[in-house]
């Protein structure tokens, strides 16, 4: 089987040995693969990358090659399998290291070190390697061996403890929030910085993204505020002391509508669209301080005005009047009726050998000359073993057959 890589993308010619699994690490390496890097995703059937086994599945039918959670994080990559419980698999991984610019993992502290694939080992195999470790809480310390997922990180890193409705208990994010932007994002930025440094100096380096430390940066200004003034943020829900009317209001057909008016010009736009409403012509509302001073009553009046209206129509009218307003869009709205995302080609559909057409999130940043995009479907388990082990490493057919029988590629 042959695979062609586009040579004119920003990361063309960069090869990554990718031991990351789960949510956070794979999104970092996927962005690299979308922009031309050759990313070799290492998996094993003895312990599936868990998104393969948690769905959602194409057509609702279970199967480790059918999970769209997995495909959305692993498109554009090549997939190989190595059963690292066998010495020969470890040896094959070690033979790949000298061909790779970046080696990355998000295992618990010490796992790859015990296999002989730690930074010391890899940098002796390839002196300028960029070795990236993304442990939960760092590779040393009293909690280094502890496990977690995005939901526990939300709690540990404080974002849960500031997110709630006013006067109520903390609710926290409804997702494994740090897995989806902050931790892959910091990892990716660090890798790109390390590539730039290597180009200047010829030197690789060790990069550690403690997912706890990375996530804590989301509260940077509030950490400063606490250290200076012992200021502990109380939950504020969808309230603001800078804008009124402001909030999330019910609209027709069970929808929700977000509105944020902070300037007099925006207020004038809203008042025009809401012509005839008493609150819109109330002189107390002509200034920002007047609106903020009467925010509770104003929000209630605006809520009653919004409630019977179709939110999609209303947001068009308000935006035309230069008022920041928008529907709380669901996944269905985003995929099926958002003309902006459609015009920008945000969603990409590719055919997958077992799943049929699969919808991927595209790249949120568009490079004008060398745009990244989904390069190929996410790999089936072990799809590129033959390419990588036989063609690239030159392992002969007989050895491959023998090692297959010995579960080296399981």
């Amino acid at each position: 089987m042959s695979v062609t890589f586009r040579q004119n993308l920003p990361l063309s010619g960069v090869r990554v040995l990718d031991f990351t699994w789960g949510g956070a690490g794979p999104f970092a390496t996927k962005a690299m693969a979308d922009h031309g890097a050759e990313v070799l995703k290492v998996e094993t059937a003895t312990h599936f990358d868990f998104p393969r086994t948690m769905g959602p599945y194409a057509g609702g039918i279970k199967g480790f090659n059918r999970s769209a959670y997995f495909t959305n994080r692993n498109a554009s990559k090549l997939g190989i399998t190595l059963n690292m419980k066998t010495k020969q698999a470890v040896e094959l991984a070690r033979r790949l290291v000298p061909t790779c610019d970046v080696v990355i993992n998000n295992f618990r502290a010490g796992v790859l070190e015990r296999l002989g694939l730690g930074y010391q080992d890899c940098s002796s195999l390839r002196p300028d390697v960029i070795y990236v470790s993304m442990p939960l809480q760092g590779n040393a310390g009293p909690q280094a061996g502890y496990s977690g997922v995005g939901h526990t990180l939300n709690v540990m890193a404080g974002i849960y403890g500031v997110t709630g409705y006013r006067g109520g208990p903390m609710i926290g994010p409804g997702t494994n929030y740090p897995d989806h932007s902050v931790n892959p994002g910091h990892g990716l930025v660090a890798i790109l910085a390390a590539l730039l440094h290597r180009r200047r100096t010829g030197r690789g380096q060790y990069v550690e993204v403690s997912q706890l430390e990375s996530t804590l940066c989301l509260l940077g200004p509030h950490i400063l505020a606490y250290s200076l003034d012992r200021a502990t943020p109380e939950p504020t829900g969808n309230e603001s002391d800078e804008a009124a009317p402001y909030g999330v209001f019910p609209c027709a057909e069970g929808g929700w509508f977000a509105l944020s008016v902070s300037t007099d010009a925006q207020w004038a736009g809203l008042a025009r669209v809401a012509e005839g409403q008493g609150w819109a012509s109330d002189p107390r509302h002509a200034t920002a301080s007047g609106r903020l001073g009467n925010a509770a009553a104003l929000n209630a009046a605006v809520a009653a005005w919004i409630e019977p209206q179709d939110g999609f129509t209303l947001m068009e009218r308000l935006q035309q009047a230069r008022v920041p307003a928008g529907m709380v869009q669901t996944a269905k709205d985003l995929v099926e009726r958002d003309p902006q995302l459609a015009a920008r080609g945000h969603f990409v559909s590719l055919h997958h050998a077992e799943m049929g057409p699969v919808v991927y999130n595209g790249v949120p940043y568009h490079l004008s000359d060398t745009p990244g995009t989904i390069q190929r479907s996410a790999p089936l388990l072990g799809e590129h073993n033959d390419l990588v082990f036989r063609e690239w490493l030159g392992v002969d057919q007989a050895d491959i057959a023998r090692m297959t029988a010995e579960d080296v590629f399981k």
Partner: protein, 404 residues
């Protein structure tokens, strides 16, 4: 002298790269990343100052914006009035000499003044990378729509996933879209810069904050496109064994989920029985691994009562250690003040001290650690226009006059 230990022995990744920074509160985390990695980031502020200087939280003593402080440490400040020909000419010269421009101006704002990418790219070095960050992207039918943190979390789909089912969707706290958008923008900018360094060719990078949010919805898009299910808000204790539980000094979050990492639930049941917690035996019934039952109000209530009997007599860090030793996913509830006492962060000496104004403050440490090129530690925050004369002076006497 303290500076000595902070001076790296090797260059930082972006040393010598000039960045012009007009990123607002919707995305400024992008240029913070570049400044942390050594770039010479020059913030362009209007007369009267950057509106970000008023974004909360504020320093209780000085009234200074700590959002602005956190985002703009180690940058220089140049004041330019882009509504005047002199200001526009100065901007043109600075942008033409920069390696990277990052701006979040409304589409058309710079073009009206003759200082957009299209106006400057022709006279700038070919390596120039120009990143435009807007709520909905520079192109498309809604390119000129307006949004702030609330509207973009709504339009990008994140709001549908947070909050209680019986209440309204809930915005994440504290300008989260700035971090999400900023990180995507930093990555796109660095990819384009890497390409420029290798090939000599710069380009435009068009970042849509909405797309950044839509990329941050876990698998909600795929849940809909494969199974036709529209994901929505879920109860706090979404299933048996998951949720916040009381302990003697606060709360512990337990994630004894039976789907993703099933062993957490089984290990939890085993420990409850070892501790002879009343009612634990009934959790052996096979119905407790059935997801539909686990999500029922009855299952959540019964499991909640049993687990509470175990947690309410212990401290949260005691529980954190004990649950982890038994391979049960969990985390101690952490309000902001608790973060400073996290033993792991203390051990790794993560926080760093640096004055803000007259007072010593504790800052977050680095988001990632690099062995050869540690980030620039937080330092000074420039006052409005502090570096106008110096920066314009680097570009010849005519520019210096424009500054005066």
């Amino acid at each position: 002298m303290a500076m000595t230990s902070r001076t790296p022995l090797t260059p930082r990744p972006l040393d010598g790269v000039r960045v012009l920074d007009m990123a607002d509160r919707s995305c400024v985390y992008a240029t913070k990343m570049l400044a942390d990695m050594g770039a010479d980031v020059v913030r362009i502020e209007p007369p009267g100052g950057d509106p970000m200087r008023h974004v909360k939280p504020l320093d209780g003593a000085s009234g200074e914006s700590l959002f602005h402080v956190f985002m703009n440490t180690n940058k220089r400040s140049v004041m330019l009035d882009l509504d005047t020909p002199q200001g526009q000419a100065a901007f043109r010269r600075l942008a033409g000499a920069a390696g990277i421009v990052v701006e979040s101006c409304a589409p058309g704002y710079l073009a009206e003044r003759g200082i957009a990418y299209a106006d400057i790219a022709g006279q700038a070095p070919r390596e120039l990378v120009w990143t435009s960050i807007t709520p909905f992207g520079s192109q498309g039918p809604r390119a000129d729509w307006l949004a702030d943190d609330l509207i973009i979390q709504a339009m990008g789909g994140l709001l549908t996933l947070t909050g209680l089912p019986e209440r309204e969707p809930l915005k994440l706290f504290g300008e989260q879209s700035c971090y999400i958008t900023g990180l995507h923008a930093a990555a796109g900018t660095l990819m384009a810069h890497w390409h420029a360094v290798r090939t000599g060719r710069g380009q435009h990078v068009d970042v849509s904050a909405q797309e950044c949010i839509t990329h941050t919805l876990e698998s909600a898009i795929q849940v809909y496109t494969t199974e036709g299910i529209v994901r929505s808000r879920q109860p706090g204790r979404v299933e048996a064994g998951v949720g916040m539980f009381p302990c003697v000094d606060g709360e512990i979050f337990v994630y004894a989920n039976a789907r993703m990492i099933a062993s957490s639930w089984h290990n939890m049941v085993k420990w409850l029985k070892e501790e002879k917690i009343e009612g634990a035996e009934q959790l052996d019934d096979p119905k407790w691994v059935d997801l539909t039952f686990r999500r029922s109000a009855e299952a959540r209530r019964i499991a909640g009562e049993i687990i509470t009997k175990l947690t309410e007599t212990r401290s949260k860090y005691q529980l954190y250690d004990q649950l982890q030793q038994r391979h049960i996913l969990c985390a101690p509830m952490s309000r902001i003040g608790d973060l400073f006492n996290n033993p792991q962060l203390k051990f790794l000496n993560w926080f760093t001290d640096q004055a803000v104004g007259e007072r010593m403050a504790t800052w977050p440490g680095p988001p990632f650690r690099m062995s050869e090129t540690p980030r620039r530690p937080p330092g000074w925050v420039a006052g409005l226009g502090r570096d106008t004369e110096a920066v314009l002076g680097e570009h010849g006497p005519a520019m210096k006059e424009a500054a005066e």
